[in-house]
């Protein structure tokens, strides 16, 4: 090993925010069904504590050995509707409380999988689960919810779409003393993956083994600094966009390798299978850890300016190319995140009115995960929220990719007002929603948007 490589790695960790964004343990809870809801709650709680009891401690130990921070330790579970089949909304609230207790007991930051998959049809259980969401999320601290309402193979469930628009409103209203923070813990998906380690959309898919460990890498800060170094060490005119893409690829390789190593070692110590590395570039509100900053370095003065979509396409592709080579198995979402509130530079672009909802939507056609962490006025009606989500679902459905929407209608606040959730959830001005109230007839059709044709792709 060369000393300069060692020092470069140390600099990446200490100065450029290289970390492992999350190690997420997926746990199957299908065997936790009891004779009544109390017994089910107790079995779920017991299983999580028994399987994940030493999880956080092991992550911390491995993190110390290799000198790489592991920012979040999380758990994902089998979508809750499967173990809660036949339960009513009150029962689901009890299950959410049990999950919250278990997450607190094992010391994880957050738990995902309070979820359902309703892309084709909604069962009575699914309806009860959806009805439980506002209270279940409002009365818990660590539980995250997600729902898959569309897939490329099945189309978009418009009945579910109508319900989720109202649910987003109800979640915000149920947590209005915290500016509608509850809506930040609920995400609506098209083509939801079963091995995504990132929240709020992590679930332990039915296709997974009993217990599995997935890792989410970070690294926008590392990539931004690598690009700055490359640009400053070259004469103007010598460097072209493919040189920058190559630098992103190589840097992503290093970033991904850190995640792969930490995930593998934690798996070995816990004696459970290692699943995937999710290659997503996940920003945090910390200055210098922003995906938006990379846009500026690559040549647009503000995120949202013409060229932003092309830059994101290049960035997303380069991240995948570097990451795929660095890891045995990749999965999850794997792309560049553009969560407005969680990225200081994106939030600044919103403030300058450089970045609007429509441009974000265009950008999500070339990256994962979608319209993420976007605060909108509390006055926007449920059907308009459903319609915004519908557009995002259509992008995922037609393009055979994962898309998602996490919109926060902030109660009592209007466009331009400021909202802050603190910590990793960040802060931003509220984005205006144009053409609100004009999509009601579309949303009220119900039924399903049929799955798209899989030939004649244009």
């Amino acid at each position: 090993m060369k000393s300069k490589d060692i020092l470069a790695t140390i600099d990446m960790i200490q100065k450029e925010h290289l970390d492992v964004r999350t190690v997420t343990m997926g746990i199957n809870i299908m065997d936790c069904r009891g004779k009544d809801v109390q017994e089910t709650c107790s079995l779920v709680e017991g299983k999580i504590i028994s399987v994940a009891g030493s999880f956080v401690e092991t992550c911390n130990e491995v993190s110390k050995t290799y000198g790489i921070p592991v920012v979040n330790k999380r758990i994902s579970i089998t979508p809750i509707v499967h173990v809660g089949a036949g339960y009513n909304r009150r029962d689901f609230v009890e299950l959410a409380k049990a999950l919250d207790r278990a997450a607190t007991a094992v010391g994880v930051d957050i738990l995902g999988g309070f979820s359902a998959q309703v892309e084709k049809g909604i069962t009575r259980t699914d309806s009860e689960y959806i009805a439980s969401l506002p209270e279940a999320i409002a009365c818990t601290d660590k539980v995250c919810a997600s729902i898959n309402i569309a897939t490329t193979k099945k189309g978009i469930n418009m009945d579910a779409l109508k319900l989720v628009g109202q649910t987003v409103k109800d979640l915000a209203e149920a947590t209005k003393e915290n500016d509608g923070f509850g809506a930040a813990k609920f995400v609506v998906f098209c083509n939801q993956p079963g091995d995504n380690p990132f929240m709020a959309g992590a679930i332990h898919g039915l296709e997974e083994a009993d217990t599995v460990l997935n890792v989410g890498v970070s690294g926008p800060g590392v990539i931004a600094r690598a690009l700055e170094r490359l640009i400053s060490s070259n004469d103007p005119g010598n460097l072209h966009i493919d040189d920058l893409a190559e630098e992103i690829k190589q840097t992503t390789f290093r970033v991904t390798r850190c995640g792969e190593l930490i995930g593998r070692r934690v798996s070995e110590k816990l004696g459970i299978g290692f699943g995937v590395v999710d290659l997503s570039l996940a920003p945090t509100p910390t200055v210098g850890d922003s995906v938006g900053e990379i846009f500026q370095i690559l040549g647009v003065d503000d995120v949202g300016a013409p060229g932003s979509t092309a830059i994101l396409a290049m960035l997303n592709d380069a991240v995948k190319k570097g990451g795929v080579f660095a890891s045995k198995n990749v999965g999850g979402l794997s792309g560049a995140f553009i969560p407005v509130m969680e990225d200081a530079v994106l939030a600044e672009a919103v403030e300058k009115e450089a970045l609007c909802l429509e441009k974000l939507e265009a950008m999500t056609t070339v990256c994962s995960v979608g319209l993420d962490m976007i605060p909108i006025p509390g006055s926007v009606d449920a059907d308009t929220i459903s319609a915004i989500i519908a557009d995002e679902m259509a992008l995922g459905m037609v393009n055979q990719k994962t898309t998602a929407a996490r919109l926060i209608p902030v109660p009592g606040k209007e466009a331009g007002d400021y909202v802050s959730f603190g910590g990793l959830f960040g802060a931003s001005p509220i984005m205006p929603v144009r053409n609100a109230g004009k999509s009601q007839r579309f949303i009220n059709w119900g039924g399903r948007i049929p799955a798209p044709i899989h030939s004649f792709r244009n």
Partner: protein, 185 residues
């Protein structure tokens, strides 16, 4: 049985030192088993191991190499060597860590960290220093497999950082392999 020698050569650096020294070994029908050379601030140093079928003593070999006509002069030491040229690694790789210490240069740093390693039974496998943009860095590959407690060494390393004002970290070497090499670790 071949007659093995370990040879150390030091000189002001110039082109041709390796050619001169190995030329002498070749002329004595010596077989070169291993070699390491390095240049530091314009000074060349080399250590090599060679095996000779013919009878030759370490003093005779030193004299022959020293007699090479060189504008810089070669400082040569030769010793008999009875070890194995490629021994198995002394420890399993799990015990190999890297300590890096970075900050403003000050006298006695290497001696102090060397003393710390000795006190805790830490074997230094390789040591490199880098001075770049006013920042002094020490990089030590260390083998902790002979130590009683890795935790104690973490504490000692932290304490060393506090005392010297240097930014000192100790990490398992796999993290650097992972970020720098193609092979999965």
């Amino acid at each position: 049985m071949a007659n093995q020698m370990v040879i150390s050569v030091m000189s002001k650096d110039r082109p041709g030192i390796i050619s001169d020294v190995t030329g002498v070994i070749y002329s004595l029908n010596g077989n070169l088993a291993d070699l390491k050379q390095s240049v530091l601030s314009g000074y060349f140093t080399m250590i090599l191991i060679a095996a000779f079928e013919e009878e030759i003593t370490s003093d005779e070999l030193a004299e022959k190499i020293s007699s090479v006509k060189s504008v810089t002069g070669l400082e040569v030491v030769v010793k008999d060597f009875d070890g194995s040229v490629n021994p198995e690694p002394a420890s399993d790789q799990n015990g190999i860590y890297v300590i890096t210490a970075q900050g403003i240069n000050q006298t006695g740093l290497v001696a102090r960290i060397g003393k710390l390693c000795f006190e805790y039974g830490v074997n230094i496998l390789d040591f490199d220093t880098v001075l770049s943009e006013g920042r002094y860095s020490m990089i030590l590959y260390v083998d902790l497999s002979g130590t009683e407690s890795v935790e104690d060494i973490y504490s000692a390393v932290d304490h060393f950082g506090e005392e010297t004002g240097l930014n000192v970290v100790m990490q398992h070497s796999d993290i650097f392999k992972a970020t720098s090499e193609i092979e999965l670790v």
